[in-house]
């Protein structure tokens, strides 16, 4: 494991030009993925996490999408500066993609075998027989029973969970260094979700690859992430190791996200308000209109610069972590809120 | 998606319950009273025409076709214009959607002019008569060899006959003023397009809803028949029938209308079946509403957008079919259809190029305008469907 991260996204900006105005889906996002680790990007729907992940290999539709700035350095190469032809070597060859909905992710009129073989032969100089053997091996490794027999089946003959396994096999066809998985379990049954996550963990070890997992499920994060990036309205709010972010959540938004979960501090509090209009985001911190701790400075200028919370790698984009502010205000307030919540629950019981 | 209708956004003109909103009189709303009154007046007019058999006071001597055209306009007024007038909020919403499509706005303006001129013009203009002296006059600002027209109405310079404002678009080989022919042709195209479409909408909706309502054998038989109608190229049935029974415009329109409702019926049936699965319909059913009542009050109003769009897109086909038949000489010899005028000019291309050109330009733009309009209506009224 070298010092250099495998993937380094720096100040990435992806906008969509529409009739109704420019949508700043990703507006200055930075994060790293090191070799062999799992990084989770979390956030509500519409926070720009999918666009960010698809911008890495420029899979967003262009037009209307446009990557207006930043760099995506993968193994020393800025992917954004590559031509389409050069980029295709990375897509599927070194970076695999798994999408949210396995129902639509496979071509309905090609056999699953053919789709894996295609992925292999796009990057490897493999003969038909060789590719077929590798495809069957992959199907076997992603847990498709009787892989050789299912090679010639069509996607509609597979269940949702099995389809997702096939999609993963396609993504792994060329031993990628990085697997980008965009909410790979959201569309599946709860029992199947766990299996697919387990599979991803096992495969990561087996293939020795890095995984960038996009999710809104903090339970998933806790289970498999090494490090976490919290996104909100196209900006990174907080990033750090999974322990730092989940055990010592520091940005008010992260706190709010965790508060939405049942079973934490006895309170299951939904986050009030809605995501800002992406065409006209609020000035200052994107979260300040919904933030319980907002002070006047939060609404001024651009998103606050990253400050550190506790440990050096744990960064938070919040004015409370700048010099002259006392970050403990956030935690104290929260502790008070939690107690209040507990108190209310007690009152309910006493009736 | 069809299913996620938001109640707040759905107060469109077609869903508002007029019967309940309007002041009742005699158990009927003002709207229904007016509609029934107009229909009664219409029936009376037709009866009087049949009984007298000659010219009527005030009404003149309308042909069966004129009666049908009036009925079409009546239906259009009550089912399209008035609902839009009654719900200005929704009308504004549609207009905003529609306005985004510049081509469609221009088309609407053009069609409004063609409609107005075609409906009113023929009552004021004399029917074109054979005028041997005025044959093949060139349009104004153009000139042809002086031997093309019988006698040149304008100046003859260097052996070239120049067009005059007397015949701004020239004349044909019978000396008919092209401008007059154009206006009469507008009437034919509008009658064909609108009347036949009205028939298609009425029959298609009736068959579609009955199939959905009764199900079973009725559904099976009517949908098989629709399959047949949609399989067979109707143009050739038009040819055969018009050949066998002679080409009156009245017959042509009836045949067009009665052979082309398959698509609308299928659309209405599938929408009706789909709608009847929806929650609010189930709620009504649970409240004890009869199926027929539900169809009339909930299903038909809800499919009207789809039907209007589909109907608008059949108009260009019908206008082209009439023009084609008239071009073949199968049209009504007593009318001045654009297709016929174009056919007359086919043999005159070398000398009088404008005879085929002028009506064709209008035919083309009329059909184009209806296509643009239908396309924009689909976008504005029926965001669900593509294609």
């Amino acid at each position: 494991m070298g010092d250099e991260p495998l993937l380094s996204v720096r100040d990435l900006r992806t906008y969509f030009r529409t009739d109704a105005g420019t949508i700043r889906a990703v507006d200055g996002v930075s994060f790293d993925v090191r070799r062999g680790e799992t990084v989770c990007v979390v956030g509500e729907s519409g926070s720009g996490k999918t666009v960010a992940s698809e911008s890495i290999t420029r899979l967003i539709p262009m037009p209307p999408g446009e990557i207006v700035g930043g760099e995506v350095v993968f193994d020393g190469v800025d992917l954004l500066s590559l031509s389409d032809r050069e980029l295709r070597e990375y897509r599927g060859g070194r970076i695999g993609h798994v999408f949210q909905n396995p129902q639509g992710a496979l071509h309905p009129m090609h056999t699953v075998g053919r789709q894996i073989v295609e992925a292999i032969r796009l990057h490897r100089d493999a003969g038909k027989r060789e590719a077929r053997e590798r495809a069957i091996d992959l199907l076997d490794r992603v847990g498709i029973p009787d892989a050789a027999a299912r090679f010639d089946d069509y996607p509609h003959e597979f269940s949702g969970g099995m389809k997702q396994r096939v999609v993963i096999a396609v993504a792994l066809a060329c031993d990628p260094d990085l697997l980008i998985a965009d909410e790979p379990t959201t569309a599946l049954d709860v029992t199947i979700q766990a299996q697919i996550l387990r599979l991803l963990c096992d495969l990561q070890e087996e293939f020795g690859m890095s995984v960038l997992l996009i999710t809104h499920d903090l339970g998933v994060v806790a289970e498999i992430a090494d490090r976490v990036v919290v996104m909100y309205a196209g900006k990174v709010m907080e990033r750090g190791t999974v322990y730092e972010v989940l055990e010592n959540p520091s940005h008010p938004y992260t706190l709010a996200l965790l508060d939405c979960l049942p079973g934490r501090g006895g309170a299951m509090r939904p986050l009030g308000g809605a995501l800002p209009d992406p065409r006209d985001p609020p000035s200052g911190c994107r979260f300040h209109p919904r933030c319980p701790h907002a002070v006047d400075e939060c609404g001024a200028g651009d998103q606050p610069a990253m400050g550190t919370a506790g440990s050096p790698g744990h960064e938070v984009s919040c004015v409370y972590y700048h010099d002259g502010y006392d970050e403990s205000a956030i935690r104290e307030r929260r502790a008070a809120d939690s107690n209040e919540g507990v108190g209310r629950a007690d009152g309910g019981d006493g009736r | 998606m069809a299913t996620d209708a938001k109640p707040s956004d759905d107060a469109s003109f077609e869903r508002v319950d007029w019967d309940a909103l309007e002041s009742e009189f005699g158990g009927l709303s003002r709207r229904q009273t007016a509609f029934l009154g107009a229909m009664a007046a219409f029936a009376l007019g037709v009866a009087a025409d049949v009984a007298v058999g000659g010219p009527l006071p005030l009404l003149g001597d309308p042909a069966p076709l004129d009666w049908l055209f009036r009925l079409t306009l009546l239906l259009g007024t009550f089912y399209v214009v008035l609902p839009l007038y009654d719900d200005p909020r929704m009308t504004r919403h549609y207009w905003r959607q529609f306005k985004r499509n510049t081509a469609a706005v221009i088309s609407l303006g053009y069609l409004a002019v063609v409609f107005a001129v075609g409906t009113v013009g023929p009552t004021f203009l004399p029917r074109p008569e054979l005028d041997l002296l005025a044959r093949r006059q060139p349009p104004v600002f153009t000139s042809v060899a002086a031997d093309v027209p019988t006698t040149c109405a304008g100046e003859v310079v260097n052996g070239m006959c120049h067009g005059t404002w007397q015949y701004p678009l020239g004349t044909n080989a019978q000396g008919h003023d092209m401008l007059h022919l154009l206006v009469f042709g507008m009437e034919v195209s509008m009658q064909v397009g609108l009347i036949a479409t009205a028939i298609i909408v009425v029959v298609g909706t009736a068959v579609g809803t009955s199939a959905a309502l009764f199900g079973g054998l009725v559904d099976e038989v009517s949908m098989r028949f629709v399959d047949l109608l949609l399989t067979v190229p109707t143009f050739f049935l038009f040819i055969l029938i018009v050949y066998l029974y002679g080409g009156s415009l009245f017959l042509m329109i009836l045949v067009f209308g009665l052979l082309s409702w398959g698509g609308v019926a299928r659309l209405v049936r599938s929408e009706a079946l789909q709608r009847s699965e929806e929650e609010y319909i189930r709620a009504a059913e649970n409240a004890g509403a009869s199926k027929a009542w539900i169809l009339r009050r909930h299903v038909i109003p809800n499919v009207s957008n789809t039907v209007i769009t589909a109907a608008t897109l059949t108009i260009p086909f019908l206008i082209l079919a009439e023009a084609g038949l008239s071009f073949l000489g199968l049209g009504d010899p007593t009318t001045f259809s654009w297709g016929q005028t174009i056919a007359d000019g086919r043999g005159e291309l070398a000398g009088a190029w404008w005879i085929s050109t002028v009506p064709g330009v209008f035919l083309f733009f009329t059909v184009l305008a209806f296509n643009f309009l239908g396309d924009a209506l689909r976008d504005a009224l029926d965001p669900r469907s593509e294609v």
Binding site: R88, H107 | L228, P233, F235, L237, L240, A323, G324, F327
Partner: protein
């Protein structure tokens, strides 16, 4: 339901449709006053016979004196066995007149079909995969132009411009040229353009709309994520859209081309099926009118059948109980 049963069902439906159409035309003919009969009666009256006698003679000669059902049976058997009546204007069986004429229709109909399918689908796919670009707008405009222009008038305008004005092509078809001569190819250029314009437009519109359904589909994204080239991605889109496209391909294109060719032949005076039919109409040759209008009807029925069966081959997901 298995595939065999499905195909059998579609074939049965085609037979029923044919049967219904034949019966319908018989019904139409049976209740129509016969123009030839009137003419015959007129001649007989001139020769001093009574109108009733004339009618009887005519009906006996033409076999129209039997009971309705017998006549129906005879008509249906005749139609099935290829006895489509006698063309009195051409003094040959109607079916032979048709056989003589159809090579002329194919001569320009086949190039026009190939052109419209290839160009229509090609432009449609390109337009869909390049949505909101100038090329897409141009394609859409072309489609509106093509479906809106009355093809008989378009033909006349082309003749006016290219034949009368510029003199590049002849304005009427000349049968004296051999089939494989340059002169024949030259005089077929304008008819092919006229015929294919509308077909390209309708095909393009449909192909574009269907392809658009898939342009942003997840599997297309998967293909891109695999590293597939744009060309390969377009092939993926086409494969998915080919099923719905094929559903209009056969029937609609055939219908469109038949209608268009009818008018085109009259405009260019090409002695194919359309002109044959047109002349039959103007000369009151009922048997020939019937033959020439029924053929497109049957071709459409067969086209629909072929299309339904093609569907089963193209789409692995088809549920045979569905239709």
């Amino acid at each position: 339901m298995g595939m065999g049963l499905y195909v059998a069902q579609r074939v049965a439906w085609a037979l029923v449709a044919t049967f219904v159409m034949l019966s319908l035309t018989f019904g139409l003919l049976a209740v129509t006053p016969d123009a030839q009969q009137a003419q015959f009666a007129f001649q007989q009256a001139q020769e001093g016979a009574s109108a009733d006698e004339a009618r009887e003679t005519y009906q006996r000669v033409t076999g129209k004196d039997g009971p309705l059902f017998d006549r129906y049976k005879e008509y249906m058997i005749g139609m099935v066995t290829g006895d489509w009546g006698w063309s009195h204007t051409r003094s040959q069986p109607a079916i032979e007149a048709v056989a003589d004429a159809y090579p002329y229709s194919l001569m320009y109909g086949i190039p026009a079909t190939v052109l419209s399918v290839v160009a229509g689908i090609g432009i449609g796919l390109y337009s869909a995969t390049h949505q909101y670009t100038k090329a897409d707008y141009a394609g859409t405009f072309l489609a509106f132009f093509g479906v809106s222009i009355p093809n008989f008038w378009f033909g006349i305008m082309l003749i006016l411009l290219f034949a009368v004005h510029l003199g590049w092509f002849p304005s009427y078809y000349d049968t004296s040229h051999g089939v494989w001569t340059l002169a024949n190819a030259k005089q077929l250029v304008l008819p092919v353009i006229v015929l294919s314009t509308a077909a390209i437009a309708s095909q393009m519109r449909y192909a574009r709309a269907e392809s658009l359904e898939y342009v942003h589909a997840d599997f297309v994204k998967t293909a891109r994520a695999k590293g597939a080239s744009e060309w390969r991605v377009i092939r993926h889109i086409f494969r998915a859209a080919s099923v719905p496209i094929s559903t209009i391909l056969v029937a609609d294109i055939l219908g469109l081309l038949f209608v268009a060719s009818y008018l085109t032949e009259v405009v260019f005076q090409i002695p194919g099926l359309g002109l044959l039919s047109y002349r039959a109409i103007t000369q009151n040759d009922t048997a020939l009118v019937l033959a020439t209008t029924l053929i497109p009807v049957f071709v459409a029925i067969v086209g629909n059948l072929v299309q339904d069966i093609a569907y089963t081959v193209l789409d692995p997901r088809i549920d045979y109980g569905d239709r």
